[in-house]
Amino acid sequence: MTEQDPSQAHRATATWDIHQPVARRSLLLAALAALIGLCIAGYGLFTAQGTRTAVVPAEDAALVNTVPILRADLIAQITALYNVPFAQTSPAQRQKVLDDMIREELYVQRGIEMGLSNDDIDVRQALVQATEGQIAQDAMTSKPSEDELRAWYTNHAARYASEGLVTLHEWRVPSTMDPHGAVAKLRGGASPASLGLTTTGRVDDGEEFAFAAEQHLGSAIFAIARTLQNGAVSDPIAMPDGIHIVQMVRNTRPVPTPYAAARDQVLADFLADKVARLQAGNQRFLKKRADIKIAADLR
């Protein structure tokens, strides 16, 4: 055995003595740090989303020209096709579905290459809907605060009122009868039958929603009917087929729905409004950044 040179031993010891400044140690540590940095950067480069180059990421079943086919989509397709849990499907079944999905992706990519997204009506419609849908998705992932919902409810309370209800009769006045006299007698408590009035048959089903009564009576007569109080009788109404009289039995006005009972609808309306505003904003933005030239005769 040979003895180690004392100066060499001293140099080696001094290199790692943190109390002494040593250029060699600094270089070594810098090199080490650079190496670690390169390793981390390399790992990130080849595994980060959007840089799928070397391996198929864990969440994907395949990459087709770097476009991923999600395992989750594959599982959904397989279970939908064979109607059994994924674990009970055979490798051949899985392979078939994966092959079909790869084929679809290849055709989609080829279709884009060929410009079908511009030419095909169905593709164009689907793209428009998908773009609009994307905005809706983004809008719906953030839930509004309770204060925002309450403010929306307060500002749009009429939307959350119950539908009005009416129970009424519509009488046709015989041409030989004085309509004003008939109205006076009805208001006095006389029965329609004793006066010879006949029903038009349009609102004889008892209580109905206001919108249904409007549909049955027509908007002109309904506009008069909706103002009548319980038990009230309208003035004679001249119609093409003769004189009509409306007798209101019960007029139940719309009642506000309490916030708690309307909360699901408030949330849906709030989000729908948000989506509509975002889509309108998106449209403005797209128009603004686009170079649109319109023929002189069509401006």
Binding site: P85, A130, K143, F211, Q215
Partner: protein, 276 residues
């Protein structure tokens, strides 16, 4: 494979750390300092990196595994539940509640009762809902049907259905209540059957009112009610309709987060079933 490699990386790091520690105890002062410096500079970061790699390796295994097998694998389950709970708290709890018990005022379902409106409650299906949503604007999502509003002039924008009168809605309410032995008017129940057919209810809920999980039509014969099962709740549903939504998180959450939260959500129902 990945899990095994990364597990050995951690073990190697720990072995080096132990070796360095022994060296620092037995060697002279200079070598001890050298060993300690090396320990700090190399072994600890390497150990931490190894641990992180190990966890990401398990996460990758969670993504590659059959979703329905994750809850029965202790290692995968642990990582999925730990990470999934965080995602649930951040993105789902605002509607479904911190414990997943749901919120009837929003129609947010109780995730702990094992009852599912869409599908059979598998992890894969829950993940699909988390990714693509319900009526959330994503065509992959569940968008097929809504509960019509029968007290409106046009009950359903997508399908021509007749509005119902107040009396018919009351008959329908009685008819539905009869399936849970709560009807109070036998004649109304009989009329309700006719209204049920005429209004097209059977098209989604079936002739037996058993519902259809393929389109999210609830079973009306059990004790689970998404918006409440009192007569006034049922009446309100018939009159005003329902169209609950669940956001599509495809562009918000990563694939790992979506899988984790799906496993965590499925586990909420499993826990309940385990207890019972």
């Amino acid at each position: 494979m990945y899990v095994t490699v990364r597990r050995w990386t951690v073990r190697a790091g720990l072995a080096i750390a132990v070796a360095m520690a022994l060296l620092s105890i037995t060697a002279g002062p200079a070598k001890r300092r050298m060993a300690l410096s090396a320990l700090v500079l190399l072994v600890i970061p390497a150990g931490l990196t190894g641990a992180a790699l190990w966890r990401s390796g398990v996460q990758a295994s969670v993504l590659r595994a059959d979703p329905e097998a994750i809850l029965s694998d202790p290692a995968l389950r642990s990582v999925a539940l730990t990470n999934g709970e965080h995602v649930f708290a951040q993105h789902c709890a605002s509607c479904h509640g911190a414990t997943g018990k749901g919120d009837r005022t929003l129609g947010a379902s109780d995730l702990t009762d094992g009852e599912t409106l869409y599908g059979i409650g598998s992890v894969a299906q829950i993940e699909d809902i988390a990714r693509y949503g319900i009526r959330a604007g994503n065509k992959h999502g569940w968008n097929l049907a809504v509960m019509p509003a029968y007290a409106r002039k046009v009950p359903d924008a997508a399908e021509a259905l007749p509005p119902q009168s107040p009396a018919q809605i009351e008959d329908l309410t009685q008819y539905i209540l009869a399936f849970t032995n709560r009807a109070t008017d036998a004649a109304a129940v009989r009329r309700g059957l006719a209204a049920y057919t005429k209004a097209g209810c059977w098209d989604c809920h079936g002739r037996d009112l058993g519902g259809d999980p393929a389109i999210g039509a609830p079973n009306l014969t059990d004790s689970v009610w998404l918006y409440g099962g009192r007569p006034e709740d049922i009446r309100r549903t018939l009159e005003r309709g329902r169209a609950g939504t669940s956001p599509a998180f495809a562009r918000v959450l990563t694939a790992a987060e979506l899988r984790n939260v799906a496993v965590y959500t499925a586990s909420l129902a499993h826990r309940r079933q385990d207890r019972t």
